[in-house]
């Protein structure tokens, strides 16, 4: 049975991002898809990227592998050529191979390499090729979807995933520090237990798991992709104009108490 979830009932002002251009990776589903759709709804022109087929939302969709540097550079160049600006970049692409990820002693080298490549290296490539374009735009903001797994270790080891997210957190701070003087901000969101397609197989395999996770969360529910998208809108907006280099934990209090 699906746990009851609550969608935020209010959103940012409709035109909060009017005239702005956003690039969102991982927009084929889950958090990235919600983030792309909400930015478009808030007035931004959104370019969405994912390896998956387009989910059919009202955004300009490019299907490609974000670990392919030439494609990353090419698509970002097309975005800038089409719009003459790039204001916001959201790195939401990520993989979690929970069935094959594991402890450092046993993890398959190929799994390790691919998880690091998608979750961390791709974000670095996007930053590398987006930063000069945001710089030319004048100012802007980056948000990277990390995880509480990048801050705390799971007792059920998924070492590639958590190392990739810890790396993403460090990458975000590097961008924040190096590009702050140019008016470019960079922050992460660290979601806890959120209902997404990526995590769904775990709940399908063990239906009681969702209920147990909700019960162990102080706010007594799992998070939604809307909770994450709301945090992203805040961090991109001028409401957060003095916020940079932070990691915003969106976990219902999950990491507050000791297990």
């Amino acid at each position: 049975m699906a746990p009851e979830t609550t969608e935020p009932s209010r959103a940012s002002p409709r035109e909060a991002f009017a005239g702005r251009v956003a690039f969102v990776t991982g927009a084929g589903g889950g958090m990235g898809r919600q983030i792309a759709a909400d930015l478009a709804r808030a007035g931004a022109r959104v370019f969405a990227a994912d390896l998956k087929d387009s989910p059919g939302d009202a955004v300009d969709y490019r299907q490609f592998d974000v670990t392919d540097e030439d494609r990353v550079a090419g698509v970002l160049g097309e975005v800038f050529a089409a719009c003459g600006r790039l204001d916001y970049v959201v790195n939401a692409a990520g993989v979690g191979w929970f069935d094959r990820d594991g402890a450092v002693a046993v993890i398959d080298r190929g799994v390790w390499d691919r998880v690091l490549e998608v979750n961390l290296t791709a974000a670095m490539l996007v930053c590398r090729h987006a930063l000069p374009l945001v710089e030319r735009t004048g100012r802007g903001a980056f948000v990277h979807v990390a995880s509480v797994a990048g801050l705390r270790n799971s007792d059920d080891p998924m070492d590639a995933y958590q190392v990739s997210k810890a790396g993403l957190i460090s990458l975000s701070r590097a961008v924040a520090l190096q590009y702050g003087p140019l008016g470019i901000r960079s922050n992460t969101i660290c979601p806890g237990a959120i209902l997404t397609p990526m995590i769904q197989p775990l709940y399908d395999a063990e239906p009681a798991r969702a209920e147990r996770m909700a019960r162990r969360t102080p706010l007594r529910r799992l998070g939604t992709v809307a909770d994450v998208s709301s945090a992203c809108q805040f961090l991109l907006s001028d409401q957060a104009a003095f916020v940079t280099g932070v990691d915003l934990v969106v976990d219902g209090g999950w990491t507050l108490a000791l297990p």
């Binding site: 609550t6 009932s9 940012s12 209902l195 102080p218 998070g223 939604t224 916020v243 940079t244």
Partner: protein, 267 residues
């Protein structure tokens, strides 16, 4: 199951984030507190600001009042539990609810530890930290009645993250505030109330007025965004945490410092 995988529908034209909500802001007549009051009021909240100077408080409340977002002043010394209970009662009487508590009141006298008296220590801790407990206790019954109770503490980077000569008592009080915040968040989560903190860095307030342009420039040079924060920047962070957008965020301290704590060696 399905349904959660697609983008969720949102109201086509959402109202202001805090329309219909009542917010109480301690120390709301000046500096950061006033900036928070401005931003929450613009987001549609009915606002009650407290302070110790009634003449100043009433004047500021008049300035901040808007037709659809009234602002009222109520005198309170945050070291006094009865004063804070009176403040919570005033908000409920005036506006019919209390949905958001922003505990911002605080003092920051610079006293080197070698010269610090017990009275110095107690003044800072009574005003900054004991007051958090008092304000929490005074507002909790009404926050429980709110559909979206929110508590936001105005902490600091000084104490929880960094140190600063002369601010040992202040830093301890703010670090204590974060410790209080985390357990309070767990205890009131079953009521749907979230408890978070914002941690301002260097903010352009009246307290900096006497420093002079050169000192301000030197401060700005240490901040990656190359400017001081505005009280309204803190208001923006508080607004997010006080709104429905952050209904899954609790027990967090959100740093608002322009990146000042990022470098290993500032500057």
């Amino acid at each position: 199951m399905s349904g959660h995988t697609g983008p969720s529908a949102r109201p086509a034209v959402p109202g202001p984030l805090l329309a219909g909500r009542t917010a109480v802001i301690t120390g709301g007549t000046r500096g950061i507190g006033r900036g928070i009051a401005e931003v929450l009021g613009e987001a549609g909240a009915r606002v009650v600001i407290s302070g110790r100077d009634a003449d100043r408080g009433r004047k500021v409340a008049d300035e901040l009042s808007a037709p659809d977002a009234p602002c009222r002043f109520h005198r309170a010394d945050v070291r006094s539990q009865p004063d804070l209970e009176s403040l919570a009662q005033f908000a409920a009487d005036e506006f019919g609810s209390l949905d958001v508590l922003v505990h911002n009141a605080g003092v920051y006298p610079e006293v080197p530890l070698a010269e610090m008296s017990e009275a110095d220590w107690d003044l800072v801790h009574d005003t900054n930290l004991k007051s958090a407990f008092f304000a929490f206790r005074a507002c909790l019954p009404r926050l429980k009645e709110s559909p979206a109770g929110r508590i936001v503490f105005v902490s600091s980077i000084t104490g929880p993250i960094t140190g600063y000569p002369g601010l040992a008592a202040y830093g301890a009080s703010k670090a204590g505030m974060n410790g209080f915040m985390r357990t309070a968040a767990i205890e009131v989560a079953p009521f749907g109330i979230t408890v978070n903190a914002v941690a301002p860095g260097s903010i352009r307030t009246e307290g900096l007025a006497g420093l002079g342009a050169q000192a301000i420039e030197a401060m700005e040079a240490l901040i990656p965004l190359h400017r001081l924060g505005d009280p309204r920047d803190i208001g923006g962070a508080v607004l997010y945490l006080a709104s429905d957008l952050a209904s899954f965020v609790t027990g967090q301290s959100l740093v608002v410092d322009g990146g000042q704590i990022l470098p290993e060696i500032p500057g």
